[in-house]
């Protein structure tokens, strides 16, 4: 099922990678690890085999699933997929089969990225989130199946494994099956996130039945089992994405979508394809960084942020100082003013050619006063130069 509720901003909780012994992340990986906060998954080919590897995720049980796959001889692609699928069980706010994601990979020294974000259903229209008065109705784009895109995770995670994975597919899915089937401990974070969204979850009998047993969030420390999700994952392990995007599972998804005003069709589900894309690459502070390109804004905004900070001499300021924090705040205000221009590569209003252009970075840096904040009205997004 697609996202019923809007997930919270990703990775508000600082995560620390769990490592296997003898690991020192390579130079590229360490910088790219900053980007993983925005892009969700990072896969590094060298971190493979028993005794070598690191896994970071938003949930300990999912991190453990990734480590277990590494210990079994899997490589980073195997571990990333196992971790993502485990998150689909234990971290429903931001990891699920009905959503999508990005993967930044490096195998054989070559960085490639996989875009498996959700896409708009074929029946989507420009006015579908507007009310009768032509004004946006926020809830339409945030709650319920109309807000859901065509799921990208089933085909995307399968494709990541197909291209780079080492272990058999069922073995990579097995940890998630086990967590859903045999149960996992409800963390305080999960209990809190369900409680915070209780009213939304209660609006749909399907979500209430799973996440609000006895009408309330399961207690932290209790064991939660999701046997139907386990069966879905088992079918996915056996047949790949077609287990979810065709046949009775697809029909059930479409029926549920229609029941609450959604427009998903079985054709949307069956025709979804993930896309391999060239990474966005930039240099900053002596590092070469490869990250996720559009439709992710993360890589470009990271590049713009670092490019401005480098020009401001940020690294020479004392760590934790007011001056450093001020420069970060002022830089982010500008980078995020530009961010709203970014979107689907086919229709985006700007991209790396504009926002990572050295001239633009220098202009942005020159706007920043090291001792005072700029009034918001003066922070304008990038605009195409007017022809003279």
């Amino acid at each position: 099922m697609g996202r019923i509720i809007a997930p919270p901003p990703p990775c508000r909780q600082r995560t620390r990678p769990a490592t296997l012994p003898g690991v020192r992340p390579p130079r590229l990986l360490r910088l790219a690890a900053a980007a993983v906060l925005a892009v969700g998954l990072l896969v590094h080919g060298a971190a493979a085999g028993p005794g070598r590897g690191a896994v970071a995720s938003a949930a300990p049980a999912a991190t453990e699933a990734g480590l277990a796959v590494l210990r079994a001889g899997g490589n980073a692609a195997d571990a990333a997929v196992a971790t993502a699928l485990a998150l689909a069980v234990v971290h429903p706010a931001a990891g699920n089969l009905g959503g999508g994601g990005f993967a930044v990979t490096r195998f054989g020294g070559q960085v490639r990225t996989l875009d498996f974000r959700e896409t708009a259903p074929a029946a989507a229209t420009a006015g579908m989130f507007l009310g009768n008065d032509g004004r946006p109705v926020a809830e339409k784009s945030l709650v319920g199946p109309l807000a859901s895109g065509v799921p990208g995770s089933p085909a995307g995670l399968f494709e990541l494994h197909r291209r780079f994975g080492r272990l058999p597919w069922p073995q990579v899915v097995a940890p998630a099956v086990r967590l859903a089937s045999e149960g996992f401990m409800v963390t305080p974070r999960l209990q809190r996130s369900i409680s915070e969204e209780r009213a939304l979850l209660a609006r749909f009998p399907e979500t209430a039945a799973v996440w609000l047993p006895e009408g309330r969030a399961p207690a932290a420390g209790s064991v939660m089992k999701l046997p139907r999700l386990a069966a879905v994952l088992a079918a996915y392990a056996e047949r790949g994405p077609e287990a979810l995007t065709t046949g009775s599972a697809a029909a059930a998804i479409v029926a549920a979508s229609r029941r609450y005003g959604g427009i998903l069709t079985t054709g949307d589900l069956a025709s979804y394809r993930p896309l391999w894309r060239e990474p966005v690459v930039f240099t900053a502070f002596g590092w070469e960084v490869a990250s996720m390109p559009l439709p992710s804004s993360g890589g470009i905004i990271l590049g713009e942020t670092l490019g401005i900070l480098e020009r401001l001499g940020w690294a020479k300021l004392p760590p934790g100082s007011v001056e450093r924090i001020h420069l970060i705040a002022e830089t982010w205000r500008r980078a995020f003013a530009d961010r709203f221009l970014l979107g689907d590569p086919a229709t985006t209003l700007a991209g790396p050619a504009q926002l990572l252009d050295p001239g633009w970075l220098a202009k942005r840096a020159s706007e920043i006063d090291g001792s005072r904040s700029t009034p918001s009205v003066r922070i304008q997004p990038w605009a195409r130069p007017t022809p003279t």
Partner: protein, 142 residues
């Protein structure tokens, strides 16, 4: 024709399983008994009934109508209503889809422990579909 989920039907199922080369092939590592139960539905005149199959390494060592205590002895227990069983045996329903949709409950055992034996579980149903099965009154209407 043998009536579904009766002692005679269970024995016919066991005979078919033991004669099936394909079941023997995919269930070679299966160890453990299965309890198959239909939920009672007094509104349609359907009484709860169950059969017990002791499955071991690709064969069936014992099959009969269930007795008290069989649930404790079984490794897996599968429970569904009459229309679900009818759909599974006619081929209209796929077993995995039925579990995904919540129509077929794994009331004992876990999908994770069944996971290595999915092919065997599906073949178990496939063999049952070959039996000459009759449905008691009420099943078709439920």
């Amino acid at each position: 024709m043998t009536e579904i989920l009766t002692d005679a039907w269970a024995k016919a199922w066991a005979e078919a399983l033991n004669a099936s080369a394909s079941y023997r092939g995919v269930a070679a590592s299966w160890e453990g008994a299965v309890l198959v139960t239909v939920r009672g539905d007094p509104g349609h005149g359907i009484e709860e009934r169950a059969v017990f199959l002791d499955l071991w390494h690709g064969g069936c060592r014992e099959a009969r109508a269930a007795r008290p205590g069989d649930l404790d002895a079984a490794r897996y227990a599968l429970t569904a209503d009459a229309s679900t069983w009818a759909g599974l045996l006619s081929g209209a329903l796929d077993p995995m889809s039925a579990v995904m949709g919540g129509a077929l409950d794994l009331t004992k055992g876990s999908v994770a422990s069944l996971f290595p034996h999915l092919a065997a579980a599906k073949e178990l149903v496939a063999v049952a579909r070959l039996l000459e099965t009759s449905l008691p009154p009420g099943w078709a209407a439920s």
